[in-house]
Subunit: 333 residues, 2 copies
């Protein structure tokens, strides 16, 4: 029961173990009758090839490593669903590595990943520095392990493929939407910590504002509710503003709550938009207008690109940009 080995199958099917192996991995090389007989025995015995023996003999693991920061972010979790679904289709297992906050550990973890002999790596860390990129390049070149950046990008090079949306354009469009509504004093609420994707959103915002000769103001806060709430309160004491674009839905929702406490009405007095289209957006009152980022697809497509790489198939484009949308709901007019 589950302890059946390839020898058991071979014995019972009256063939050699080589034939059993072929029946599984290269069925076309086995005569149909033999193959069927083998398959039947495999099922009878509930035989499953031992992954270690297979990995050792073939030097392939059919396992991919997925490297993520904090799992509890809504975007990461949903990307994992996309990754897992495609991984299943192509029969890859997922080794999950969650980064802790210590800077030093990332390199350590990547070494572990190499020792684990994975066939490919999906890198979901939000931010990627020159140093990290170089290290990934080393892994790619010296260990010949394909890597795909999922919802991350590195502009100076495209030697490592990436999958994401055009965040600059999304930032531009959502800003433009508010401008066209007639808003003039539009702030972007971004994060104190620098993330590449937020940086792109900011760039898009700046471009749209400048195109319309409007003054740009970027406010940086924290993703933590207690901190940003404090921030927003101060803010209402001193500022005049009629549009807010937050880099995350949850920040937008926090903002709406504080606006409400300050007797500012959304969207009459001020329009508010978020980014991502998470459940937060739909649970917000009023429902939040936001950029719709196809998070699941970003995960799924990046896994698909990785399978191509692992199969030595060529990929057309090293930088895959998926379409995004804008969902107009109740926080804009």
């Amino acid at each position: 029961m589950g302890k059946a080995t390839i020898y058991d199958v071979a014995g019972k099917a009256r063939v050699s173990l080589a034939t059993v192996s072929r029946a599984i991995n290269n069925p076309e090389k086995v005569k149909p009758e033999t193959r069927e007989r083998v398959i039947r025995v495999i099922e009878e015995l509930g035989y499953k090839p031992n992954a270690f023996a297979k990995g050792l003999a073939s030097r392939k693991s059919t396992t991919v490593a997925v490297l993520v920061p904090d799992m509890s972010r809504a975007s990461i979790a949903e990307m994992m669903n996309g990754i897992a679904d495609i991984a299943r289709v192509y029969k890859y297992s997922i080794l999950l590595y969650i980064l802790d906050n210590e800077e030093s550990s990332e390199e350590e973890i990547l070494k572990e990943i190499i020792a684990a002999q994975v066939d490919g790596i999906l890198y979901l860390n939000d931010e990627i520095t020159r140093k990290q990129y170089d290290f990934l390049m080393t892994i790619k070149n010296e260990h010949q392990i394909p890597i795909v950046l999922t919802n991350t990008m590195f502009h100076e090079s495209d030697e490592i493929p990436s999958v994401s949306i055009d965040y600059e354009k999304a930032g531009y469009e959502i800003t433009k939407k508010l401008v066209e509504e007639g808003r003039k004093n539009i702030y972007m609420v971004s994060t104190v910590r620098k993330y590449m994707v937020n940086d792109l959103k900011e760039k898009g915002y700046l471009r749209a504002m400048e195109e319309h000769g409007l003054e740009t103001k970027i406010m940086r806060t924290s993703g933590r509710i207690s901190v940003n709430t404090e921030h927003f309160h101060e803010y209402f004491q001193s500022q005049k503003v009629d549009g807010i674009i937050a880099v995350r839905d949850s920040i937008a929702v926090s903002f709406i709550n504080v606006a409400f406490q300050n007797d500012v009405t959304v969207p009459d007095d001020i329009s508010v938009c978020g980014f991502q289209n998470t459940k937060y957006a739909r649970l917000s009152r009023p429902n939040l207008t936001c950029v719709d980022v196809p998070i699941y697809d970003i995960g799924a497509v990046s896994m698909r690109v990785l399978t191509k790489l692992m199969n030595q198939e060529g990929i057309e484009n090293p930088k895959v940009i998926l379409d995004h949308g804008i969902v107009s709901r109740e926080t804009t007019r």
Copy 2:
């Protein structure tokens, strides 16, 4: 570079490969000088044992499988953080298996897990039927793979250890809280689909209500916002109620939104509570009162229990119950 094998190390250190192996795994069995020489060579060569060869020879993988339903649920994601942190401490890798919705596939996945030769399994599926439990028992007994149920339980048996909170008690306490506020018509909003944990929350609710001679009413809806919103709207046409306990924070927030649309004020007209203390609760307006479930800890502790099992250490108690709390915020008075 990374391609060094145990033979290379043995050659360069002028010992046999058996000694290298011991120097790594049972250092106390090797003479200090020899050990140090070996260790030095290992570092020079950047040697990392091949995980497959090691797994094949030792029949141990230092890998645990984590079986989860839909990753994007807030609770699951946060549990993963707890699991990963403890796994890192004990040097276990995590193989992640996400269930899709097809009933049939779970057994298939468990077979894969067996083939992967993991040292232990963390089972995070919300619901566990007699059949599933029996299957897990088979794995545990025939394959000798330790299993821990994380935030899931099976009352008929405690042969498979579990870690969770006392959901019945939490349901009881939160209900009691509303009763003590003077609420009389308290509904529980649960899910259409049966989950064991929700069932326990319901039991606690029923016990508290009955103790006070109050009429019990359980309403079943969906976790999907569009569906439950519809539900709640109909509901306000016909019902009189002054307290709502939702089995999930997000459902409570949906409810608050609909109450608001029906000109019902929270908490003046009606108290609302949720379960879990997710970010939804803190982003809700008014801020949601809820049961605080130590999700991270549930993950961390269950991983810890699993390491003990894998190490053949005894565990004191097969059913670990962690403490929960109740966070009183603005949706109750």
